[in-house]
């Protein structure tokens, strides 16, 4: 067991658990239990797909994404982030459905051999609404939840810390890779790599950046694994938790209610009652 030596005689000012760990979030949405917010995000995303059409997903976006985001004071960031997340998929899905919808009859525009149809346009809007509902729900969750809080909450409920670690580390890896890519780009440009100009030049410039970013990340995995092992992460048994996010009976009922509503919706869709 640790504790035999090492700073044991250092006179720690026992300040107790720091306030900032348990400090309540700035809005009621921030203060919701992380599992409640995760449930809301999941139910919104799945329901948008299950509902289909245009009105259902749009109403979902308004009620489950825009309103809570406005209440949490993160509407501007939510719009920017979720659009950034969804844009590449949304644009390609929109264009493909607009121009290549198989049952398109009513021609809107003809551009050479390809034709945009009204039916394609309608279907593309439906797809767009679903994509925005999914990206908005996920973004709202991450803008109002500390990833560490979700990990702790799941752990308290008996989920292995490894599950939480994988989920959290995946999210944390994205900004780390972006930063690494920026550093490598700067280093490669300092050595004469041309990453500006025509599209072809830009594409050629990506190749010597992507390789080091991916290989560097892979190389770091071993060291990260060793660091985790050395800090006792693989020890069997429960870890000590410093704090746990609050949870209320209302939120528990809300979560089960959301799940039940989703199950009901899927059942209705599968049985064909709602057409």
């Amino acid at each position: 067991m640790a504790g035999g030596a090492g700073l044991t005689s250092a006179p720690p000012l026992d300040r107790g658990i720091p306030d900032f760990l348990e400090r309540p979030g700035p809005s009621p949405v921030h203060r919701l239990n992380p599992l409640t917010k995760a449930t809301l995000a999941t139910v919104t995303a799945v329901a948008a797909v299950a509902l289909g059409g245009l009105v259902g997903p749009v109403v979902l976006v308004l009620v489950a994404v825009i309103l809570p985001a406005a209440a949490a004071g993160v509407l501007g960031r939510l719009i920017r982030t979720s659009l950034l997340l969804a844009l590449p998929i949304a644009v390609s899905a929109f264009l493909v459905n607009l121009f290549f919808f198989p049952d398109g009859r009513t021609v809107l525009v003809e551009v050479g051999p390809i034709t945009a149809t009204a039916e394609g346009f309608g279907f593309a809007l439906e797809i767009l609404a679903r994509i925005l509902a999914i990206s908005g729900a996920v973004t709202l969750f991450y803008l109002t939840t500390r990833p560490a809080a979700l990990v702790i909450d799941l752990e308290r409920r008996g989920v292995s810390p490894r599950v939480g670690f994988v989920a959290n580390a995946s999210v944390q890896t994205v900004p780390a890779m972006v930063e690494r890519a920026a550093q490598i780009t700067a280093a490669q440009r300092a050595r004469g790599l041309d990453t500006e100009g025509s599209v072809w030049r830009r594409i050629r410039g990506i190749v010597p950046i992507v390789g080091p970013v991916i290989l560097g990340s892979i190389a770091e995995v071993e060291e990260r694994t060793m660091a985790l092992e050395a800090r006792g992460f693989t020890r069997p048994g429960r870890r000590t938790l410093l704090w746990t996010p609050s949870d209320t009976t209302f939120e528990r009922i809300l979560r089960w209610g959301l799940v039940a509503a989703l199950v009901g919706l899927i059942a209705v869709r599968v049985t064909g009652v709602l057409r």
Binding site: G6, D14, R15, P161, R224, E229, R231, L242
Partner: protein, 269 residues
Amino acid sequence: MSLQLTGVGYRYAGATAAALLDIDLLLGPGEVVGVAGASESGKTTLCLVAAGLAPRTVGGQIRGTILLDGEDVDAWPMHRLSARIGIGFQNPATQLSQVAGTVFEEVAFGPMNLGVPRNEVVSHTWAALETLRIENLAERDPFRLSGGQQQLVAMAGLLAMRPEHLVLDEPTAQLDPEGTRLVGDAIARLAAEGASILITEQKTDLLAAIAARVIVLDGGRIARAGTADDVLADPGLAELGVAPPAMHRLRRAAADAGVAPGTLGSLDG
């Protein structure tokens, strides 16, 4: 409390040559042993082997025996070893847990994993932060710190685990002189409380200040071993890719210039 390596050799998986050969090393209680050597001389490998990560996590083949307080650790799982031996790496970014939202939680990560009672986790964490004078960073996001600050946080994470033995692989690589001094002070304090410490360093000035004994590795073997004074004053050190401490360089330069030894004052003391 001792860490003893006897006849230890190690080869990485897939490698044709051994990275370490015939290493005999004893770290007694409260002893700081410095390891110097050129790049690829085996310093990091020695750290991995001494801390038990090689071959448990890294793979490869090991021979010889490693005794921790007289017990053979060959069959110990890593989590059992990690409660007794702490290891710090050169790159602080890879030592961050990735699940802590604040520096406080990051430093507390190790003792939390070990199941240390909550109030002890908190007091160990504050003590470690205070030792390295980074308590002002407690609320910060560890990912938004400079490399030097991250290195101090990683070091604090080790201290909070209260290891009986500590293995440090160039812990001051990214630190400024003040950070280096703080880490040096923390190591000296740990040693004074009985921990045995193995530290690899390019900064031989730090080794001269904190290590009682120094070994120099060359091609995976111990090329020099002895008291820090003797080894770091060895004129053949540069041939092994190790820069002598400033004190010894100055002394040698003075001797070459014909300055009488007694005139260097405290350097001769």
